[in-house]
Amino acid sequence: MTVIRVAASTAIRDIVAGSRAHGVVHAVFEHATYVTFAGGRLVAIVTRDGVHQPSAAVVPWTADRRPATPGVQAGAPVVAADGAISIAGVDFRPGRWWEPQPTVRHTERSTLANAAADIAGRLAPLDEDVAAACRELQDALADGDIDGSRRAARRLLGRGPGLTPFGDDVLAGCFGTTAALASALDDARSQAVSATTRATATHILDEVEDATTTISAGLLRDASRGALAQPVAHLLTAAAAGAPVAGAVAAVLRIGATSGAGLLHGCVLALDVLVDGRAEGHARMNERQLA
């Protein structure tokens, strides 16, 4: 048995450290091999230069220096047991853990509001349909209108091309930001927003089976638990700490073709709701749509 040490997200600690779980290789790409487990849980075995997805186990090499190993194909069985994930005779064993969440414990509304403005200023405009759905989602989340937020989220779900449709990226950014930062604000409003968002996410996750791709669904599931791709977690850390966000935004924008931008729009949307910056949020949304 070959053992490969991986740097694993703490979001997969339960899978790796839990009792025996069976999964299957869902897809194999240059930078990532996606594995699905029961309950729609996703684990991505990614290269060091690949996107550190929220549920990633990162191998210590880049895609161009992959060691010569027998190719793994979609459909191959996977077992998670005894602290490792085993695929085709190779044990991927965590040697280090990283946090897919911001590590800031407390933050202030004003800090997040500033960050939201700063991030929004760095984004290209949304097209009209998406912007409208975003406004609707924002209003519903702010008002605690679960039915409305479900409707709006469903307008976004599965919308757009690609492995992770753009609308899903927006939702993931929104769900993840709220789940990760509500407790750092620790006030009644953020608890309420968090509850509405969670209910919306749960609803969406029940629907995802046929509404979007498996990988996108897995990422949404992670986001609803507050687990985000590492660059997004870094961004939210900076945002919550009141630190400059330019570098972190640039890093997020490098995710996928448009995924990074979608995630960022979702982050801004959620931050606006959390700090009750709905007016600002709408203004920005219009701006982003009209510009």
Partner: protein
């Protein structure tokens, strides 16, 4: 439309590469036609056929001909350079297996390294570290015995290049979750530590971890960084880097007693930073690390509780008073701290690294009385493994102590984490049992985190079951040992 025709002599490239380059240049916006080719007769004919003036040139000359609207010519010429550079290829050896492994840090960095870790002998470390800096990456130097003038020069080069030299003699560094040298597995969090003390940084990060407070980075700047010769060069860079780091919202500057001027100038710097900085300058009159950890934890989170763990050993064994305390340490800072605590309450403390007011050893390790020895010093490690990675020297020393016909408290530090011994309890337990059986009190300062690969709590339990009293805070272990001597237990 402008025609640009240029003859470059002696710039040979093969025709396939040049055809590719021609296409790249022709694809530039505003370029109507482009030809990059060796000036063979055939190619000169082609050039004429394209309507260019045909220059006088031979087959060893490279023709560069571009027809473009005025503005596009510069872009096209830039593309020529890029395309020709591309024909020269890179360092790829695709398809022929790996080349020989790098023999120097320079070649490692050229092969894609982004950081260097140097632990070759001190005399040789300068060259490797300089390689890293000149190739554009920061470096951690674990090696000791690097001459101080080399340290000064390396740090000057680093600051000229916007890079960081960690060390020399940096025992611990932790960057973005990766431990270099000896480092513990602690949670990620907002505290960034600049440390001129390796075991000090390990102790602090572990105590913070126990309090639920995580660490962003530990940057070990080397034991001499805050001395006057080095002037805090790496501390400055490290402080600025942590200040700019979004993941760091509290900084701790940890050092053995610094030069006063250096400390003052660093204070001037920290006053200008956005991130709050807690100074933890160790010394006879300063707070111990447990106190510092508690203060930092509550600064970061008022609700955090710093409650260092302890595991009770054999109560019968600690009923003092004892004639002497024998501190057998692997970590220099831990030894210092214990010595300071003991010196405040006990007379006649001696050490191989004495603090002010303490005495030198008079008979090596057999010096009678209250003795605190840093067994990690050169005099003990030359030709032998460091006590952090191998307990045999200390086990032997415990047995030697047992030969001495005097009542004793044995005080040992056990350091866990990456690169430390995988199971120190396995080596120490028999010696602890023998000591307890010989009526010694055994006190262990266990520097480790709950996440360390050695399973800290398991290690602690096994040593406690053997009769030792185990403390995760070194200061508490030292205080307990002193109380035993005084008969206060």
């Amino acid at each position: 439309m402008t025609d640009h025709v240029e003859v470059r002599s002696g710039a040979y490239a093969d025709s396939v590469s040049l055809m590719q380059a021609s296409r790249r240049v022709a694809d530039v916006d505003g370029v109507d036609a482009a030809l990059l080719a060796m000036a063979t007769e055939l190619n000169l004919d082609v050039l004429g056929g394209m309507g260019f003036d045909v220059p006088s040139a031979g087959p060893n000359d490279l023709l560069v001909a571009i027809r473009a609207t005025g503005d596009a010519l510069d872009a096209a010429l830039a593309e020529v350079e890029a395309a020709l550079a591309a024909t020269r290829g890179g360092a790829g050896d695709a398809g022929f297996g790996d080349g020989p492994p790098p023999r120097t840090v320079r070649d490692g960095v050229l092969a894609g390294g982004t950081f260097a870790s140097v632990s070759v002998p001190g005399a040789d470390a300068t060259a490797e570290a300089l390689d890293a800096l000149e190739a554009g990456v920061s470096v951690m130097i674990f090696s000791d015995n690097v001459p101080v003038d080399a340290e000064v020069a390396l740090k000057r080069r680093a600051s000229e290049r916007g890079l960081l030299v960690l060390g020399p003699d940096a025992g611990t560094t932790l960057i973005n979750g990766v431990g270099y040298g000896f480092a513990n597995v602690v949670r990620s969090g907002p505290v960034g530590i600049v440390a001129a003390s390796g075991t000090g940084a390990q102790q602090l990060s572990c105590l913070l971890d126990d309090a639920g407070i995580g660490v962003s980075h530990v940057l070990g700047v080397g034991g001499r960084d805050l001395q006057s010769r080095v002037g805090g060069a790496s501390s400055r860079t490290a402080l600025r880097a942590l200040d700019a780091d979004p993941a760091t919202s509290h900084i701790v500057l940890l050092s053995k007693p610094p030069d006063a001027d250096v400390a003052a100038s660093l204070r001037e710097l920290t006053a200008t930073l956005d991130t709050p900085v807690t100074e933890a300058l160790l010394g006879a009159d300063a707070d111990d690390l447990a106190t510092i950890a508690a203060r930092v934890a509550s600064d970061v989170d008022a609700t955090a509780v710093a409650a260092p763990a302890q595991w009770e050993g054999d109560p019968a064994a600690t009923a003092g008073p004892f004639a002497e305390v024998r501190g057998l340490f692997a970590g220099g800072t831990l030894c210092d701290e214990a010595m300071i605590i003991a010196h405040r309450r006990l007379d006649g403390v001696r050490s191989n690294i004495p603090i002010d007011g303490a005495g030198e050893l008079t008979d090596g390790l057999d010096t009678p009385g209250h003795v605190f020895v840093d067994l990690g010093e050169d005099e003990f490690t030359r030709g032998r493994p460091h006590p952090m990675i191998d307990q045999s020297m200390r086990v032997a020393r415990i047995h030697a102590e047992l030969e001495r016909d005097v009542s004793q408290v044995l005080l040992l530090d056990v350091v866990l984490g990456h690169a430390a011994h995988p199971d120190p309890a396995a080596e120490l337990v028999p010696a602890i049992e023998a000591a307890v059986a010989s009526s010694r009190a055994v006190v262990i300062s266990l520097c480790g985190s709950a996440g360390d690969p050695q399973d800290r709590d398991g290690q602690a339990r096994r040593m406690a079951e053997a009769g030792a009293w185990v403390f995760s805070a070194n200061a508490h272990a030292a205080a307990f040992a002193v109380e035993c001597v005084e008969g206060g237990r």
